[in-house]
Symmetry: C2
Subunit: 407 residues, 2 copies
């Protein structure tokens, strides 16, 4: 957490058929003042101010075969050294700019033929980034205040079918879910502004139901309306949600991209629910792409209040350890004076059975626990789905594990 | 090239331990109206309007082992079927929205445990996308008009050292390159608005040199100034370049993201030079991520006039076949009435030796041929570097292959 005031640091897992020290130096050169041949002008003074540095290198067990292909391999027969490497860059190379940070730490590196594996594990940023970016405006405390939920996770669900419902059908489902006692509902990421469910009509129809319920029951359910789109569309949609009394907007961060999310993060007066769909392409191969621990920091700085982390026992390909690591990362402060905590969102095949292991793994209730099919397809209806999840969490928190095996 | 007016299509390479037809249906369900359990409301009428469809499935040779790990494998012992699959979605699900397109065709798919490999190969879009997005405003013809280069590639270079030069040092190097007869110069992607080379000062210093040279020599060298940053910064920097008489802006598309690039594409009055750094993370493993043929269409629609494709015999890990496929894709029309052609940019270790094979592979001179070290580190100086490249291309085009082996 201690930020170097003048240098950016990034940690990588590398796999290489050359001396790992040489590979790391090549990475540092490629991503700062060097190129593949010496060029005039790369003076010692220039290097001193602009060169990236290898800060540390820890050898790991070698791989038995190359993880990634190389068209013109350097040492086709290996060995395939593996190492954990930390590089650093002068902040002055780019200033506190998230898009330029991505180019510096995650630019042309994956193409290097010296590497048969490269994974960006973590990054540490100078305080200047904390000043330059909004970070989450609501986070855990703001989300709890808007929903009135304390001492336990927010119980959430996703509108299903994901896509195909009209605004009126969506509102009717939301009404049922409000009655069922839900805390949080999100649009599916596939539903934004389609022809048979236009955003504006959906928001107006849904917020009528949510506001009516709030007036009657004293509980305003948080709806994460999917504003994903272009910059002006997202701002306008945010303003509509705000005007209708809504309390959350959602965006697909990989689809919008970093500059767009920063814009939404600066503009928003509501929590930003960050959906990570597409993330698998950057993460699914263990020797390629990004660890969530590094990647999610970009979006927290850009303003994400809630960040998806998949769920324990999920329906996807991710391990539980990876899910828990991601959730803990989201709850770990980025800067002492500006923690930028994002509330982790557990979803994907979640049922009451996952409450206890999630609680035990995380040791926190600062999360959104979202079940789509688990609530909407519950044999006794959504109210039973919600109350089963609430009960499972209450029991887990109370130390009563007896209910944990309940389907 | 024939666009379905009402459905979006995407082609995938899949690898799966289940029946490939079932895997494809799972993909279609996950990315439209289905979820992992049947939910109330997924009626036949709803499916008819919103469901994605499996349009075709072609079995390929099976893999001998899973390409990607799965935490809870379905059939741990395989077999690992491989197939080429085409899915389609109703345009009405999302409308002509690039960010929402990405979520639909490239969202939660990579996480599916039914898949041990998934690669997005190509996509075809309804004409509505051509109307909704700017596409390249300049492309090949506009770039040739601004540079006055016809009948041969633009010979380009990259400012090196990539980072560390002051504005005055950068301008001095640009002056030398202008004298050397260069057509095109780009900022390195690592150089945007650093403390010792602020964007505004660099643009003013460089354009003074470029304008002087244009006045004297009648040739305005195109400089791709790296405007990568947040939305307002990019617009402001574009305006500065335009005001100083510059003729190109560059942005790192993966760092800015799609919504940001659309904004730049709508705003720009200059060619947009799209730098693909970071692309390797999406492409390096053959069973994961995106083929360039699919991916680059997003950026062309968003407004990219020039798109990087690496180079033949490059210093990176990519095969020449892959490079050539990318370049040909950039030169292939997307829509009959709005081709959205982007000029491919060849770079990375390019020398005169690559002119002939590039010409033979591409059969076109509509490209930017950029050599960084190859020009700046030429033993006889940059002018010799430029004239060697020009001569190699002239010879290649003239059918004189004798020079092709020259280093």
């Amino acid at each position: 957490m201690t930020a170097n005031p003048v240098r950016i640091e990034a940690d990588y897992l590398i796999e290489t058929p050359v001396d790992p020290r040489l590979a790391a130096e090549t990475m540092a050169g490629e991503q700062s003042s060097g190129t593949f041949v010496a060029v005039p002008g790369e003076t010692p003074e220039l290097k001193a101010r602009a060169a990236a540095r290898v800060e540390s290198l820890e050898l790991l067990d070698a791989a038995s075969a190359p993880s990634l292909p190389v068209a013109r391999p350097i040492n086709p027969d290996g060995p395939w050294h593996r190492a954990r490497v930390t590089l650093s860059w002068p902040l002055d190379n780019i200033g506190a700019s998230l898009p330029n940070l991505v180019t510096a730490i995650a630019g042309n590196l994956w193409e290097l033929r010296q590497l048969t594996g490269l994974r960006l594990l973590d990054l540490r940023l100078p305080l200047a980034f904390a000043s330059a970016y909004p970070g989450p405006k609501f986070g855990v405390a703001g989300t709890r205040e808007l929903t009135g939920v304390n001492g336990r996770p927010l119980i959430g669900t996703i509108i299903k079918p994901s896509i195909g419902l009209s605004p009126a059908e969506t509102a009717a489902l939301v009404a049922e879910l409000c009655e069922a006692g839900i805390d949080f509902i999100k649009d599916d990421e596939l539903q934004s502004d389609g022809a048979y469910c236009p955003f504006d009509q959906r928001v107006r129809a849904v917020m009528r139901v949510v506001n009516d319920h709030a007036n009657r029951a004293g509980k305003k359910v948080m709806i994460a309306f999917n504003v994903t789109g272009e910059i002006d569309q997202m701002r306008r949609r945010h303003d509509l949600v705000l005007g209708e009394g809504g309390t959350c907007v959602m965006a697909s961060i990989n689809s919008v991209g970093l500059a767009g999310m920063v814009e939404l993060g600066r503009h928003t007066q509501l929590p930003v629910h960050a959906h990570r769909n597409g993330w698998g392409a950057l993460n699914r191969h263990p020797a390629l792409g990004w660890d969530y621990t590094a990647w999610h920091k970009l979006w927290r700085l850009a303003g994400a209040d809630h960040m998806h982390v998949n769920g324990i026992g999920n329906k996807f390909s991710e391990t539980d350890d990876s899910v828990v690591t991601s959730a803990k990362a989201a709850l770990t402060p980025m800067f002492a004076h500006k923690p930028c905590i994002a509330m982790p969102v557990f979803s994907s095949g979640q049922t009451p059975a996952q409450a206890l292991p999630t609680w035990r793994a995380l040791g926190s209730t600062d999360l959104i626990f979202a079940a789509g099919g688990g609530i909407l397809a519950h044999p006794d209806g959504p109210a039973a789905g919600v109350s089963d999840l609430r009960a499972a969490w209450d029991a887990a928190i109370a130390g009563d594990a007896a209910i944990a095996g309940k389907p």
